[in-house]
Amino acid sequence: MSAARGTALLQVRNLRISFGSLAAVRGADLTIYRGETHCVVGESGCGKSVTALAVMGLLARNAVREADRLVFDGQDLLRLSESQLSRLRGDRMAMIFQEPMTSLNPAYTVGSQMAEVYRRHRGGSRAEALDRAEDLLAKCRVTSPRLRLGQYPHQLSGGLRQRVMIAMALMCDPELLVADEPTTALDVTVQAQILRLLMDLQRDLGLALMLITHDLGVVARMAHRVSVMYAGEVVESAPAEHLFGNPTHPYTRGLLACVPVPGKVRRDQPLGAIPGVVPRIGPRFEGCAFRDRCGQARPDCARTVAWQANGEHGYRCVLPPDWTGPASLAA
């Protein structure tokens, strides 16, 4: 790897994505540093998966993507053609998905699907590529990797398929790995194994890992840095210890109150909940999208809210960093 840990690898500024009259992402900012795990967290429909797909250039054809800045290692992704972008994908930035059951092509063996990425970006013989695939499957703790190369996806369990997906993503030593809820579709025990694997790989290979999740437990265990998304916006972003130690945006506080933390939550007290649902946002929406569910809403929440930054910790809210009171409306 060229640059050291801690320099910016991916910079996203004011990313906007819309599908027809639906604004899925409305000006999201994100900076992912080399060698760090950056968790993007939020409820379903908040735009976190769409953001990940937009970074990779994998949005559906009916999506409109705009941004002020979308830079990967000094290269402006907005200016790259589809074929130039495809040279980057799978090579220097790779992605794994939520649905391991359907993400592998049923018609080809694991080995041929893994070898294909390597040969596309690095060339070389099929045998070389298969050797590399075997090494990576072993690194992803797949048992009898040589045997797996000749198997078809339907012969593997969900957890195994996700390991194959991870190994396949690592074939070309990418600098950035985007993982979109990689464990949501798996059994709980398998989830833990996959997360452990991702954590170890991230550390051993010095990967920048963009991990999309709705699970704050996962965030707490894995993240170096966290961005919280709500209704298509990043509402708070901070190093993990800051975010958990000093959550500032009412939505972040509400979200954290929903998580049972052993030792902190008392059995006789009800767990937090945020009433209402994520609103559907049209293209001309203004102000804070959380105001209808917020316990601290004020009239000026309906105007454009500025980003407040304090060192590496930033949030999009009119409140001061040390406000107190209920985060969300009572149910």
Partner: protein, 305 residues
């Protein structure tokens, strides 16, 4: 898998036996065969002689089992009109019809698959609509009329291709094109639907995330999955096509099984008619059987179970 093969084959045999019975009953529709064979001017003694000669004086059930048993062993008796063994006639004519069928399905696949892919990649655009219109035109064109038009244009106007006969490969071009028209719309729609399905699947998203080239994504990853039903349906279409070869062979005077069928029908040559009906049915049954089995073998998910 073995059980599937067994059940599927048993069904095919059962269908074949039913068609066998049907082919026999079909020729008894006219009433007394002996009168039909003897012709309108025959005397009563002649009719009686014919009845005995062809064994038509026996009970119908005996006639059926006798005929069915021989038919099952490939003996269809002697043709009334050609004065030859029906099996010999079929052996002589079959290569022409099979060549025509293979040319026809070949042209159909070469045209239908690219058009289907094109329409799928441009779903709901004018390209998609235009391709759909082409399919609809193909479906509405009467094959015999199209054959005559091609004859007029390529045969007479341009003088590029022979109008009738079996001499060379050029003789198969126009009949092959006409025959392919009957299969193109179905194969094209199937390719389109399969490609649209495949292109929106998760594994195509994975293929794109891997940075594969557009051609690899479309042709290797999507088409492989979309093509499986197309392959099996094309076998079925080939079966229908061979059945439809009667029209095309008659128009182009191609001396294949279809032409033989038309000749024997117009000459009341029952042994030949029965044999040809049975032959086309058995070809169809075998082709669909092959298609189903091929489908099971091609699809790795079905192969395992």
């Amino acid at each position: 898998m073995l059980l599937f093969l067994f059940r599927r084959t048993a069904l095919a045999v059962l269908v074949a036996l039913t068609v066998l019975t049907f082919a026999f009953v079909l020729t008894r529709l006219a009433g007394d065969l002996a009168i039909v064979i003897a012709g309108p001017e025959a005397r009563a003694e002649d009719v009686e002689a014919i009845r005995r000669a062809y064994g038509l004086d026996r009970p119908v059930v005996i006639q059926f089992f006798d005929w069915a048993w021989r038919a099952a062993t490939g003996d269809f008796g002697e043709s009334f009109f050609f004065r030859e063994r029906v099996s010999t006639l079929i052996r002589q004519r079959l290569p022409v019809t099979l060549t025509l069928g293979v040319v026809g399905i070949g042209i159909a696949l070469v045209v239908a698959i690219p058009l289907g892919i094109l329409a799928a990649l441009h779903e709901n655009t004018w390209i998609d609509r235009a391709v759909g219109l082409v399919a609809m035109v193909g479906q509405a064109l009467p094959s015999f009329w199209l054959a005559l038009l091609l004859m007029l244009f390529f045969g007479l106007q341009l003088g590029w291709l022979p109008i009738s006969g079996t001499g060379s490969w050029e003789h198969y071009v126009m009949p092959g094109i006409v025959l392919s028209f009957s299969a193109i719309p179905a194969l094209m729609r199937l390719t389109r639907a399969g490609m649209i399905d495949a292109m929106s699947s998760d594994y195509i998203r994975t293929a794109r995330a891997k940075g594969l080239s557009r051609s690899s994504i479309v042709l290797k990853h999507a088409l492989r999955n979309a093509a499986m039903p197309v392959v099996s349906i094309s076998a079925v279409q080939l079966g229908f096509m061979l059945g439809g070869s009667i029209v095309i062979e008659t128009v182009f005077a191609l001396h294949g099984i279809g032409f033989l069928a038309w000749e024997s029908i117009s000459k009341n040559d029952f042994p030949t008619v029965q044999a040809v009906v049975l032959l086309f049915a058995v070809i169809y049954i075998v082709l669909t059987l092959i298609a189903d089995v091929a489908n099971a073998v091609l699809d790795p998910r079905l192969r395992a179970s």
